[in-house]
């Protein structure tokens, strides 16, 4: 720890050099303004700046949506957003320190500040200048509150510093060009969305293509200077209907890739839509499930979502430090929290798995730290947490998981969560094990959760430490050999520690869930890799449902 502080002292005396005559012009502009601001503001009274970072997110997004064979949306937009991170005081105690109790929204609220997309250096510098002034003054104000608060409140349970050192990174990656193939995409969107046309009981349907090119420019007073880009292609189908009892039902299927040829061929996409339509039709007439506890299988992608929501958010570093968090796992390092045959990693350096591109991959986090593979659980034993540059007891440094959407402040977040098992069986054997478990518990059936839309979890101390996961497509598996039956109308609920202790066996069918996760630092791309799992007990409760009748008049006549 002392060694780290010494390195910080050195950095304070010798701020980042601006000796970049060549190089990216946007980075050069940012660097000029950073050098100028840091030199002056670190000497400001009553408390000076000790860290300054500028990040510009240049995002171009092309979106094409179609419904029933017609285009419903086409947009091609580019925006650049600026984030200014100012730290006053010292790494030991600075303005980002948690203020316990009371709202802190004025400081933490999301803020979208645009900078020019044409790279005009004078205009960029003018905006950076104004925002730096605003941010620095707010930081000084907040630091005063932090210092005063510490004098009147009890000592915190984790007295770690507020900021950790990190080596300077210099990287200027290539910036790819985006060539939206509008005619190809719109044609494909029309054709795919047209497949929903014959089904008058499908009330809403949509096919959406989305391609984004994001380039991040980052400079900070540690001397980091980074430019890195990512391209993401997303294709998503969506269809919804309504059961006779007013329950609104939908299914969707997303595909993610880092290149257009990484998406499935049209024939495969057509088959996928047909499959989605069949499943939605089954759901429409499926019986409702009453509240139930008993054995269940979470299929691979559903298991990925389950682990992301219930486990992943609880191993984010800042939640171990905050006095308002539930801190489920904070004191459990070295203890067994999962079955011995399970391990969990978060590895944003992974780009693909099983031939699928991973949405959660990134090179550098939003604090200029290279992404690293983190062993979170090994053989069931908790080993560590996902760390930003905000240290916690026993974990003094970042492991490259400080992430945010532009406009928000960085916290530690997941990237690619990999749930690994050493005790796998085939899916058929997993189903057999489910039936066996049902018999053992004298249950007539178990449940298989094939598809999950997402979920949410309460990690705060003021609420109950529960989670809710929202299944979309669920089947009953009967012990007496009857065919599986599609059912509807349930959500999974539970508490995390109890739920993880019920995992008894896993499949060998690893699959990738790619998605976007929203939390206090905004929306970020994530992935989860997981096998199907058998849990000896899961609890489901009734899903909320609408009270409206289905449409009174029949659908308009379809022309074919």
């Amino acid at each position: 720890m002392n060694h780290n502080l010494a390195r910080f002292a050195l950095l304070l005396i010798v701020p980042a050099s601006s000796a970049f005559a060549a190089g990216d012009p946007v980075l050069n502009t940012m660097q000029r303004e950073l050098d100028r601001s840091f030199t002056v503001l670190r000497r400001e009274e009553p408390v000076g700046l000790y860290f300054l970072q500028y990040e510009i997110t240049d995002e171009r997004q092309v979106v094409c949506s179609a419904c029933l064979g017609t285009i419903t949306n086409w947009t091609d937009e580019r925006s650049c957003y600026l984030d200014v991170d100012t730290r006053v005081g010292s790494p030991r105690l600075d303005n980002t320190h948690e203020i316990r109790g009371g709202s802190d929204q004025e400081y933490w609220g999301g803020r979208r500040l645009r900078v020019p997309i044409d790279g005009d250096p004078d205009a960029i510098r003018a905006i950076i200048w104004a925002e730096t002034d605003r941010s620095f003054k707010l930081a000084q104000e907040r630091f005063t509150k932090v210092v005063n608060e510490r004098q009147v409140k009890v000592v915190e349970s984790d007295t770690s510093p507020d900021f950790s050192a990190s080596p300077a990174v210099r990287y200027e990656g290539p910036v790819p060009q985006l060539h939206p193939e509008d005619t190809i995409w719109s044609g494909l969107a029309r054709r795919l969305s047209d497949r929903f046309r014959p089904y008058s009981w499908i009330y809403n349907s949509e096919v959406t293509f989305r391609v984004s090119l994001t380039t991040r420019y980052l400079v900070n007073s540690d001397g980091s200077r980074i430019r890195h880009s990512s391209v993401r292609y997303t294709l998503r189908f969506y269809a919804s209907t309504m059961a006779e009892d007013g329950m609104e039902l939908y299914l969707s299927q997303p595909y993610h890739a880092t290149a257009s040829n990484g998406l499935p061929e049209e024939e495969e996409l057509r088959d996928s839509i047909d499959s989605l339509i069949n499943r939605l039709e089954e759901l429409r007439t499926a019986p409702l499930v009453e509240p139930y506890t008993g054995p269940a299988i979470l299929m691979n992608q559903a298991c990925g979502v389950f682990f992301h929501e219930i486990f992943g958010h609880r191993i984010e570093g800042h939640r171990q430090k905050s006095e308002s968090e539930g801190q489920t796992f904070t004191k459990k390092v070295g203890e067994r929290i999962l079955p011995e045959f399970m391990s969990v990693y978060d590895d944003p350096t992974m780009t693909t798995f099983g031939g699928r591109d991973l949405n959660g991959h990134y090179q550098y986090d939003n604090e200029g730290v290279a992404a690293q593979r983190v062993v979170v659980v090994e053989n069931g034993v908790l080993k560590g947490f996902l760390m930003s540059r905000s240290p916690i007891a026993g974990y003094p440094g970042s492991n490259g998981h400080g992430r945010r959407q532009y406009g928000y402040d960085v916290v530690s977040r997941q990237g690619v969560l990999y749930v690994k098992s050493d005790h796998t069986v085939s899916l058929a054997e997993l189903r057999a094990a489910l039936r066996d478990e049902c018999r053992r518990q004298n249950k007539p059936y178990g449940l298989i959760f094939h598809d999950i839309s997402g979920g949410f979890t309460m990690t705060g101390r003021s609420g109950v430490q529960t989670f809710k996961v929202l299944p979309l497509y669920v089947k009953r598996v009967y012990v007496d050999g009857r065919p599986d039956e599609v059912v509807r109308g349930v959500d999974i609920v539970g508490t995390p520690l109890a739920s993880f202790s019920k995992i008894t066996l896993t499949g060998d069918d690893y699959a990738v869930f790619n998605g976007t996760c929203g939390a206090e630092s905004g929306w970020i791309p994530v992935s989860a890799i997981a096998p199907s799992i058998l849990v000896s007990e899961i609890e489901v409760e009734k899903k909320s449902k609408g009270q409206d009748r289905p449409p009174i008049l029949p659908a308009p006549d379809c022309p074919r």
């Binding site: 064979g69 285009i71 020019p116 005009d120 309504m242 449409p551 009174i552 308009p556």
Partner: protein
């Protein structure tokens, strides 16, 4: 029946129109829940809108966006014209399957896809109408009858078909032009932050209803708006705004805008060096933009939406927020301005003495052709801005119904379009100044006040880019927006000096009755009136107005430390 046919245009080949017509007929005949009231009126309004937006700051391009949207809004009534589900606010919404009131439509002309969306939103709106009707009946069953005014007025049948007019937008030219206009601020070091926004919105509005009204009108409005923030020498920060509005970007005069932006920026800079004054009491001469804003704020908004809706409960009424319109609605037949003034509104008029009027439209948002309305005659209120919602005094629409979004959804309200203020006793500018000084002397003042700019009605105070640390907590919105450009005139020497912006205090709806003299030259003012999520083009033509007695106080603004580091551009 009123029939306006433009150039022999038919709608036979308009797929959107055909789709709306087919679903309208089907729903009018077949849509009903067993045991429930059927709809007695259905109206469809589609806005097919393209919008380009370009924003620049300090010579750099911040964003350029292009959007195309089609929105369908459904007006559906159950009951009958004397008592229906209308004019009643309660928080009810449709489902995601069958949305109520409003939905997006496909951008392409595929009849089946269009009809699918129209079918579902009509269904959701009908179910909501039944629920609202039931709640409305319940809410009044224990109340004394307040009035017997019908809920919905008949209207003369209108058929108006404007030809489909493609509208080009020279994006490359305007990208450079907006950047150039924003670059003006490179000459003004006192202006701390600034930006220029061009928004060009154009499209078509379709209207079809079961009263046989059919219209297709073309809409277009270009807005070039400039925002600038100065920090004055006492540390206070103020953001001000300047707007230029025209039917299209081609009608915006680049040279004139450049010149006006420079002059405005120069005024802001000069104001930034001034001491805060002590306020003012006495006669005030409103010139040009200030006179137009004064009339619009007090009279235009005051007689808009003349019949307030019923609310399901006090909590709902509070949730709806402060009522911005209708403050003078109870003054019908009484004096609302000085006797020398008469005011009419002529939404059908496109120009006034060669100047374009952005408030113009051919048919309102309920498919009614606008009529000239004499709202004030010799100082007395003789008309309202009427939609198809009747009032005690006026039972029919005069074609001023405009869509108005509120927290619990949208409704159609009567709104100003082209307000034209005429005076029977116009004075020259010199005569007005004489009268101003004479009045000031009568009050024993050593100074008189001339206001040339009020903060425009298009200004949005909740702007994201406004400096957050300089904002004061939200307060009740005053009746009149602040005087941002004003001059104090020395009564003895007649010397004018620029002063800091001031707030009007204690202004009431009677301020126009205190007008003692008017100018003899009409000033044409175009503005986009913004309130919450609404943006309605309005034009005001008015002479200068001399008000007998007003109180103004210095603006109460938060002072912050000046920037710690010098601006990077202004070395």
């Amino acid at each position: 029946m009123l029939v306006l046919l433009c150039g022999g245009v038919t709608y036979a080949d308009d797929v959107l129109w055909k789709s709306l017509e087919t679903e309208l007929q089907r729903s009018a005949v077949e849509l009903r829940l067993p045991g429930q009231l059927p709809p007695y009126y259905i109206g469809y309004r589609v806005n097919d809108v393209k919008q380009d937006r370009i924003v620049a700051s300090f010579g750099g391009l911040l964003t350029k966006e292009s959007h195309h949207n089609r929105y369908l809004r459904v007006a559906l009534r159950v009951g009958d014209r004397s008592f229906d589900n209308g004019n009643f606010i309660c928080p009810l919404y449709g489902s995601s399957t069958t949305p109520a009131d409003f939905t997006g439509l496909p951008l392409e002309d595929d009849e089946y896809a269009l009809r699918q969306s129209i079918w579902l939103v009509t269904d959701g709106t009908y179910k909501k109408a039944l629920a609202v009707f039931a709640r409305k009946q319940a809410s009044i069953q224990n109340q004394q009858p307040r009035d017997t005014i019908p809920d919905f007025a008949p209207a003369a049948v209108c058929t108006l078909l404007q030809p489909l007019a493609p509208e080009a937008f020279d994006e490359a030219y305007w990208q450079d032009a907006v950047a150039e206009l924003s670059g003006v601020f490179r000459s003004f070091p006192q202006i701390r932050e600034s930006r220029v926004e061009l928004t060009f919105t154009r499209g078509r509005q379709y209207w079809l209803d079961t009263d046989l009204n059919r219209s297709r009108r073309n809409d277009r409005i270009a807005a070039l708006e400039v925002y600038a923030t100065t920090q004055r020498k006492d540390g206070t920060i103020g953001e001000e705004m300047l707007g230029f509005y025209a039917p299209g970007p081609d009608e915006l005069d680049m040279a004139a805008m450049l010149s006006e932006i420079r002059a405005w920026a120069d005024t802001l800079c000069r104001q930034s060096h001034l001491e805060v004054g002590e306020g003012y009491s006495g006669p005030v001469l409103f010139l040009d933009q200030a006179a137009a804003e004064l009339v619009f704020h007090i009279l235009g908004k005051g007689i808009a939406d003349p019949r307030a809706p019923r609310y399901e409960s006090e909590a709902v009424e509070q949730g709806q927020g402060e009522r911005a319109l209708g403050g003078l609605a109870d003054r019908f037949g009484h004096k609302v301005t000085a006797r020398m003034l008469s005011v009419h509104d002529d939404a059908g008029r496109e120009h006034y003495q060669g100047r374009m009027l952005v408030g113009h439209y051919a048919v309102d948002d309920e498919g009614v052709v606008p009529q000239r309305v004499n709202v004030v005659t010799d100082g007395k209120l003789t008309g309202y801005y009427m939609s198809r919602t009747p009032t005690k005094q006026v039972r029919v629409s005069n074609g001023h119904g405009r869509n108005w979004l509120e927290p619990y959804g949208g409704r159609i309200v009567g709104m100003p379009a082209n307000m034209i203020i005429e005076s029977s006793a116009g004075s020259t500018r010199a005569e007005l100044l004489d009268q101003l000084i004479s009045l000031a002397r009568e009050y024993g003042n050593t100074q008189a006040l001339i206001v040339t700019r009020l903060r425009p009605s298009s200004y949005e105070s909740e702007n994201d880019d406004a400096p957050r640390y300089a904002r004061k907590p939200a307060e009740k919105k005053p009746l009149l927006s602040p005087a941002v450009t004003a001059y104090l005139v020395d009564v003895a020497t007649r010397k004018m000096r620029l002063c800091r912006g001031m707030d009007f205090s204690s202004v009431t709806g009677r301020v126009l009755r205190d007008i003692v003299a008017t100018g003899d030259r009409p000033y044409v003012y175009n503005v986009l009136y913004r309130e919450r999520d609404n943006a309605i083009p309005v034009s005001v033509v008015t002479p200068a107005l001399l008000v007998d007695d007003l109180d103004l106080v210095p603006r109460d603004e938060r002072a912050v430390r000046p920037p710690i580091i010098k601006h990077p551009f202004f070395k």
